[in-house]
């Protein structure tokens, strides 16, 4: 039963994604734009760019995810699909979790494909690609799942800004560890400890946030 539910979910998500008329491109454009704006704000010399690169990549990445997070539940909440989904599901918690993961993958893959571009724009060595990819994936999952939980809590508020204000302070540890990964891997140091830290945080958020999501939806759907 659950399996068929999940199949429907995946089909629906894919259909929404492929019919979104290029909406998935918006976060990608924002990612590039933030990098461009940061760069034109300083004298773009290589050493200065390299110094800024970790912070710029992370800020641009998280801001782009924020844009994508806005559509996490809102559209389906407003047209009633979310309510039906939860009413009819045998295990709504799992359904929500699957949806979070599917949307996360669909959002970060286009951004990660731009990562080589971002690295070369900021004049960083290509050797940082693999470590930063892993760090961005793990860190973004923490951000994404927390963001999904907080958007479920703030569903009935029409202003999208509120969720960002609640979420961004919680992004401090992710940016600290994540930008450190980029910096250290550029210097050729080992970063496995830092990446594992981010993976640990993402497992922590994976285990806590579904409950918050569910509670938030229940209270907003009454």
């Amino acid at each position: 039963m659950l399996l068929s539910e999940l199949k429907t979910l995946y089909k629906l998500e894919w259909r929404q994604f492929s019919r979104s008329q290029g909406q998935w491109l918006f976060p990608v454009m924002l990612f590039i734009l933030v990098i461009v704006l940061f760069t034109v704000g300083i004298d773009p010399e290589a050493h200065r760019l390299q110094q800024m690169a970790p912070a710029v990549i992370w800020c641009a990445f998280l801001l782009s995810l924020l844009l994508a997070l806005d559509h996490m539940w809102r559209d389906d909440y407003q047209n009633g699909v979310l309510e039906q989904m939860l009413l009819h599901s045998e295990s709504p918690l799992q359904l929500l979790l699957h949806r979070v993961v599917v949307r996360w993958v669909l959002s970060i893959v286009p951004l990660l494909l731009c990562l080589p571009l971002a690295i070369s724009m900021l004049q960083m060595p290509m050797t940082i690609f693999m470590p930063s990819l892993l760090a961005l994936a793990a860190g973004s999952f923490v951000f994404w799942s927390l963001g999904s939980a907080l958007s479920a809590l703030t569903l009935n508020d029409r202003r999208p800004a509120l969720m960002s204000l609640l979420l961004l302070p919680m992004a401090v540890p992710i940016v600290i560890f994540g930008s450190r990964v980029i910096k250290q891997s550029a210097m050729g140091e080992s970063v496995s400890g830092l990446v594992l830290m981010l993976v640990g945080l993402s497992i922590l958020s994976l285990s806590i946030t579904p409950w918050i999501m569910f509670a938030g939806m229940r209270l907003n759907l009454d």
Binding site: T154, L162, L166
Partner: protein
């Protein structure tokens, strides 16, 4: 035991009790703050490095402690309210948020006033300052979340959940900021040249903290009374209370 408990969680009883306790707390708070001020500003010797400027510690450190203590208290009240469904605990959590935010702001302001002559800058990316700033943003987020709901019950629940998310996150934020800071600029922290505090300087600080806590208790109780009245404005006991007061006037 059960009766005692009931008197703390039922709104009319809490309303009455809060008044008595608030008065006692306020009296003790004013007394201990005045004594501590005398001790801190007059009796304590000047610091051998910082001169008289160090005396701002008597406001700065207690408000820093209170900013965290208030969050812990708010989260505790939220937890109690969520688990045992005490509406009065929601009222307590509601009123603590702005109070805690003000203590946090006070800590940041006095910190930057202290930082200007000591470090030569209004803002230093010191680990404690940074996590205090994040704490302020979380307090403000909590208040904003509460205001975004029209229904009281939903606002209470959402805010309580958010407060508990904060409890999980704040230690992670705090320690990551600490770690970040010690890697980047250890020197600024030791620039303060922190000598372990002597008893002459220490007792007013301790007393001031106790005074701040009592003051926090007093204003929380007073604000809770107001919050209870506005939440329960349609209930019988509030209406009776209003009638009694009208009769007196």
């Amino acid at each position: 035991m059960k009766k005692w408990f009931h008197q703390w969680v039922s709104p009319p009883h809490l309303y009455e009790r809060a008044d008595r306790y608030a008065k006692v707390f306020l009296f003790l708070a004013i007394a201990s703050i005045l004594v501590a001020l005398y001790g801190g500003l007059v009796l304590a010797p000047a610091d051998y490095q910082q001169g008289d400027a160090f005396r701002i510690i008597y406001v700065h450190v207690p408000s820093a402690w209170l900013s965290m203590f208030a969050y812990a208290f708010m989260a505790g009240a939220s937890f109690v309210a969520l688990v045992w469904r005490f509406s009065a605990a929601h009222a307590v959590a509601t009123v603590i948020a702005p109070i805690g935010a003000v203590f946090t702001l006070l800590c940041l302001l006095t910190g930057s006033l202290w930082g200007k002559p000591m470090w030569g800058t209004w803002w230093e990316w010191d680990a404690r300052m940074t996590s205090e700033l994040v704490l302020l943003l979380i307090y403000l987020g909590y208040i904003a979340l509460r205001l975004s709901f029209e229904e009281q019950a939903k606002a209470d629940k959402a805010a309580a959940i958010f407060a508990l998310i904060g409890v999980v996150n704040l230690p992670i934020i705090h320690y990551s900021v600490y770690w970040w800071n010690t890697l980047h600029q250890g020197a600024t922290v030791s620039k303060i040249g922190k000598p372990s505090i002597t008893w002459d300087m220490g007792w007013p600080l301790l007393l001031m903290t106790i005074g701040f806590m009592l003051f926090f208790g007093a204003i929380t109780l007073m604000a809770t009374r107001g919050e209870l009245l506005s939440r329960e404005r349609r209930t019988k006991w509030v209406k009776e209370l209003v009638d009694i007061n009208r009769g007196v006037n």
